[in-house]
Every structure is written in structure tokens, then in C-alpha cells.
């Protein structure tokens, strides 16, 4: 018996898909350049080549959603942000965060269904609801950041280090456990 997962083979491009699939694909391609454009708007400066690169990477990601091209897109948006935006509390960060959330959700959803399959209403609703939650969380984070940024407290460095430690621990936990703990 041979068993292979779709992550190894990828979905076969058998059809154009239904309306939801087309929208999801359009989001995967279109959102990265939008995020770069939003960064441009936040910084007041930018390079068109980065927009083009983001669009190209988005298209590549839509073609092979099972590869790590999406991570490159995220990295490109982040590096571009760090390199060009100086205002740490600009509300544009919420816009870019929401676009990153939409991109991630679309790319993840794109890998869930075969290209020619028709999404059910329940699936669409669930993915929309969860994406909205993440976007709201981004807005909440911005509020916290904007509030704390005005206060030059003495323990700020300590808070950041603690946050880093917490994130590291969370990442290690989320990354996975040994196979014998997977109930297989």
C-alpha cells in the first residue's frame, strides 16, 4: 500500500475552480503588492520594483501553495517595512497587518481545497470569520503599542525581553512534539 499526502504531490491543476477559488487565488496574487503599496504610503517613499517583486512572488505562491514561497512574501513585506517606515505608531501598520493576515488566510485556504472543487458555504463563512478575528487582534495590538509608545517607562526593555522569551517558548511548543505523542 502506498500512502502519500497532498503536501508531497500538490493538487493537480485540473480546473479553474468555482468563484470562491478564483477570489482566493486573486487574493494570494493581489494582496502582497497591496501590502507593499500600503508600506509605501506609510513611509512616503518606496520602490516600484518591490511592488513588482511582491506581485511576482504572490503569483508564484498561487501556483505552488504547498511550497514556502508565501514565507518569502511575508519576509519581503516585513523587510520593506523595517527599511522604509520610521514612524513606530503609524496606523498604516494595522493596514499592512490586516493585508498580511488576509494573504496568509488566502494562501492557507488555497491549499485546503483542490482547484476545481466547490467551496461550501460553511467553509467560506468559517474562514472569513477567523480572518476577521485576526484583523481585529491586529487592531488591538496597534492600540496597545500606540498607548505604550508614549510612555517611556523604565521597565520597557524588560517587558520586551519577557515577550521574546514567551514567544520563543510558544514557538517551541507550537512547532511540534515527538512522534510518539501524536497518538499514532
Amino acid at each position: 500500500m502506498s500512502v502519500v499526502g497532498p503536501s508531497a504531490a500538490g493538487w493537480r491543476p485540473l480546473g479553474r475552480g468555482d468563484g470562491v477559488n478564483v477570489v482566493v487565488r486573486a487574493l494570494v496574487v493581489g494582496v502582497p503588492p497591496l501590502a507593499v503599496a500600503a508600506t509605501w504610503a506609510a513611509a512616503g517613499r518606496g520602490r516600484p520594483v518591490v511592488v513588482v517583486a511582491a506581485a511576482a512572488l504572490g503569483a508564484l505562491c498561487a501556483r505552488r501553495s504547498d511550497r514556502h514561497v508565501g514565507l518569502v512574501v511575508v519576509a519581503l513585506v516585513g523587510v520593506n517595512w523595517v527599511a522604509t517606515v520610521d514612524d513606530h505608531t503609524t496606523p498604516w501598520s494595522v493596514v499592512v497587518a490586516c493585508l498580511l493576515g488576509v494573504f496568509h488566510a488566502a494562501a492557507a485556504a488555497f491549499g485546503v481545497a483542490p482547484p476545481a472543487a466547490t467551496w461550501t458555504r460553511a467553509m467560506g463563512r468559517r474562514w472569513l470569520r477567523r480572518t476577521a478575528v485576526l484583523m481585529a487582534a491586529s487592531g488591538g495590538t496597534w492600540l496597545v503599542v500606540a498607548t505604550l509608545d508614549g510612555r517611556a517607562g523604565r521597565g520597557r526593555a524588560l517587558v520586551l525581553v519577557a515577550a521574546l522569551a514567551l514567544l520563543t517558548a510558544g514557538a517551541l511548543w507550537a512547532h511540534g512534539r515527538p512522534a510518539d505523542e501524536q497518538g499514532i
Binding site: G78, P114, V133, L148, L160, L164
Partner: protein
């Protein structure tokens, strides 16, 4: 490869992206990067919290193993998720050529908690007769945020689907071809033990006592008996030539290859003759040698004939030598279905007639064979030359007293069967 839940590229993206932004935010004192990290880290955390630990159980089944071509059956997938953490289940069914699937491409996806596994059904419709392997279906289950995926694509989930040929429409109004049989449902050309009244005649030694017609005997003073026509059957042998398959096969509703026509026509003729009580045998020359089904009648026998026809595949390794399958019953009506693409096929018909069999050749060559490949002028030219040669060869066969008729559906064989009946009547010198 083992079956287990695997993190996806989406989960890696969320985890590494969120972690990376957060790390840079801390190290470079850029709290705005925490805002950018939030959706990614949130998705990673969400996906990790709802990580499945138990693999789901999947069962695949095919509604019917045998269907007529053009009819549909259902490939059903049942998913049992005891843990309740599977969210989306996607299915892609491996379908061979001549199998249409609905939804398109055999692809479907459902939300297992909301939709259940009921919609995980794919309509499978064979558009051409034959035995085909359908499946296995690739079943992929994903958890929240598409963070973890489990897939199964196992060869032991394959199923064999037999599509019986859908017989073409056929009916013959011509009288039966006469043969010297003495059993069956058709009146024979001679008087003997039977059921249909023929006449009242004087008693002869050997007549059964229960046949005595007492009223006539008393009136005339000599013994008279009731004479009946003997019942006889017809023995039809379908000789299917699957040594060549010429033309393009597009399935039901499309163009038919010569083998498509031969099999569907044979099915139609078998259905017609079995329907009127005749005994029908099948001899098929195909890949793997000669396939035989002995003569019998009844609907079960028809099913058996169709099932054997559904397994025929054209011979590609050896050329036609014109050999005649041995063991054809003398006196049988042999209906030979062939594209007559080669000279040996025509010679076979002549040899059969030389053996004293009544032979009827059904020409199954597609009428558009010379123009089926418009992109290749050389092939078209070769076909035109070959068709001219073939026309001359067929004429020679017809001059030898063998009827060759193209298959044209209902009534295709009427004229020929009527001629054969008339010749047989002249030969036997009996009633019509």
C-alpha cells in the same frame, strides 16, 4: 510513508513569520512590527492549539461494480473523526480515461463539522464500455487554519468498474433464417412433434396415440392424427473481430471506433435474438486469444455475453492471420462483426462460408475513418488508397455469396436476413 498529521507550509509561514517579526520587534525596538506579527502569530497559535492527534478513519466504496455505459454510480467516502478536530476534507478521485466524474475532475471539498461527510460523494459515469480501475481517491484532511494535514492515497482503495456495452438500437422484421433444427420456439419447415397445428392426416406407424383425432377418425372410419409443425431454434454465433480497432473512440454520444461499433452491434443482435428465444453464442478474437461463450438463451446469458464483451481489448501484438476459430456449430447463422481492415479478415469470412456456415458480415469500419485525422494528409491519403482496395476485396467476397452490410442500427440486417431466408427456403423446399 506513514500516515500522520504533518505541518503544512501555511503553518510554517505563520510560525516563522510571526516569530521573526516579533524577534526583530524586540531586538530592533520596533514595536510596530508586533502589529505585523499579530495575524501570523495568532494563526500559528490557533492552529497549534487545535492540532489533531488522532488520524481519521476513511472508508471508500463504489456503489455498483457493474453498470451499463452511460449510466452513473457513486464513489462514496466516509470519514470518521473521533477527535473532532478535522475541519476541511478534500477528495480527488483518480479516474481513468472514459470515466466522467461529477463534481468536475472528481474533486470535492467539505467542512466536516458543518457539512458532514454526506456530500463526499463523486458521481462516476463510464462513457465507454470496458473494465476499468477507478480510484483510489486522494483524501486530505486539514485542521484549523490549514495548519496540519493528513492524506491518504492508498492503492488498496482501488475498485474495478465494469461498464457493459449499451447495445445499439436494433430490430429485425425479416423472417428467420431457416435451419434444420427440431427444438425451439420457431416453427420449423417440417412437420414433427411440436405445438403449432399443421393438419389432420391419416395415421402412420410411429404416431403417438395421444395425437389421434377421434372425431375425424369416427367420421371417416380410419385413424387420423393431428400433425404439428416441429419447433426449432436458431443458433446464432456472434463472431467479433477485435484484432483491429480502427477509428477514434469518444464514448457515448461521440465518435465510435470499429470495436465500439462491433461490440454495441453484437450486444444489440444478441439482445434481439435472445429476446425471441434463440440461442446465441459468442466467439471473440481479441488480445489474449479467442474468447468463447457457449450458445444459450435467457436474460442471464445476455448479461454474460455483455460482460465478456466488456472485457475485450484489441490485439496489438500480433497481426491477423485470417485463422478461423474452430468449433463453430454447423448450420449456425454466423454474424461476423469486423472492420474488414485487412485482407485476412475478409478471407476468414470466405473460409467460414466454405465450411458450410451461413455467414453474414457486418462491416464496422467507421465511415469517417479517412478523415478522422485532418492534420495528417499522408494518413488520409493512405486510408483512401486502402479503402479503394478494400472496396474491391469486399466486392469479391460478395460475389462469393457472402452478404456484407454496414452497421446502420435498426433494420441494418433486414434485407440480408430476408435474402438468406429466401435462399434457405429454396434450398429446403419447404413452406414459407
Amino acid at each position: 510513508m506513514s500516515e500522520r498529521w504533518q505541518p503544512t507550509a501555511a503553518h510554517s509561514r505563520a510560525l516563522l513569520g510571526g516569530m521573526g517579526f516579533a524577534t526583530v520587534a524586540v531586538l530592533a525596538r520596533r514595536p510596530d512590527l508586533l502589529v505585523l506579527a499579530t495575524p501570523l502569530a495568532g494563526a500559528a497559535l490557533w492552529g497549534a492549539l487545535l492540532r489533531p492527534r488522532v488520524v481519521p478513519r476513511v472508508r471508500q466504496s463504489l456503489g455498483h461494480a457493474v453498470v451499463r455505459e452511460g449510466d452513473a454510480t457513486t464513489w462514496r467516502i466516509e470519514v470518521d473523526d473521533p477527535e473532532g478536530r478535522v475541519e476541511d476534507v478534500a477528495v480527488v478521485l483518480d479516474a481513468p480515461p472514459y470515466i466522467d466524474c461529477w463534481p468536475a475532475g472528481g474533486q470535492t471539498v467539505v467542512s466536516l463539522p458543518d457539512d458532514g461527510d454526506g456530500p463526499l460523494a463523486i458521481e462516476v459515469r463510464p462513457v465507454r464500455w470496458g473494465r476499468r480501475t477507478v480510484g483510489p481517491a486522494l483524501v486530505a484532511a486539514t485542521s484549523a487554519w490549514g495548519a496540519y494535514r493528513w492524506g491518504r492515497h492508498a492503492s488498496d482503495d482501488e475498485r474495478t468498474l465494469v461498464a457493459l456495452p449499451r447495445p445499439a438500437r436494433f430490430d429485425a422484421v425479416a423472417p428467420p433464417v431457416l435451419r434444420p433444427g427440431i427444438v425451439g420456439v420457431n416453427p420449423a419447415p417440417r412437420q414433427s412433434s411440436g405445438t403449432e397445428f399443421a393438419t389432420i392426416r391419416p395415421f402412420q406407424p410411429g404416431d403417438r396415440l395421444r395425437r389421434i383425432h377421434w372425431r375425424q377418425s369416427v367420421r371417416t372410419g380410419t385413424l387420423h392424427v393431428t400433425a404439428t409443425w416441429a419447433d426449432h431454434d436458431r443458433h446464432v454465433v456472434l463472431l467479433v473481430d477485435a484484432l483491429d480497432d480502427v477509428g477514434v473512440s469518444e464514448g457515448i454520444g461521440g465518435r465510435s471506433s470499429s470495436l465500439d461499433t462491433a461490440v454495441r452491434a453484437a450486444g444489440a443482435i444478441a439482445e434481439h435474438h435472445i429476446g425471441i428465444g434463440d440461442r446465441v453464442a459468442l466467439v471473440a478474437m481479441a488480445a489474449g486469444g479467442i474468447r468463447r461463450v457457449p450458445a444459450a438463451t435467457g436474460s442471464r446469458h445476455l448479461r454474460r455475453l455483455l460482460e465478456v464483451m466488456a472485457t475485450l481489448e484489441p490485439e496489438t501484438r500480433r497481426s491477423d492471420t485470417g485463422e478461423v476459430p474452430p468449433g463453430l456449430a454447423p448450420g449456425a447463422l454466423v454474424v461476423m462483426l469486423s472492420p474488414l481492415a485487412t485482407r485476412p479478415a475478409l478471407q476468414r469470412a470466405v473460409t467460414l462460408a466454405d465450411h458450410g456456415l451461413t455467414v453474414l458480415v457486418v462491416d464496422c469500419l467507421p465511415p469517417d475513418v479517412a478523415t478522422s485525422d485532418p492534420g495528417d494528409a499522408d494518413v488520409a491519403l493512405l486510408w483512401r488508397i486502402r479503402l479503394l482496395q478494400r472496396e474491391r476485396e469486399v466486392r469479391g467476397v460478395e460475389e462469393a455469396g457472402i452478404a456484407v452490410v454496414p452497421w446502420r442500427g435498426p433494420g441494418s440486417l433486414d434485407v440480408v436476413l430476408r435474402d438468406l431466408h429466401r435462399h434457405a427456403r429454396v434450398r429446403t423446399g419447404t413452406r414459407s
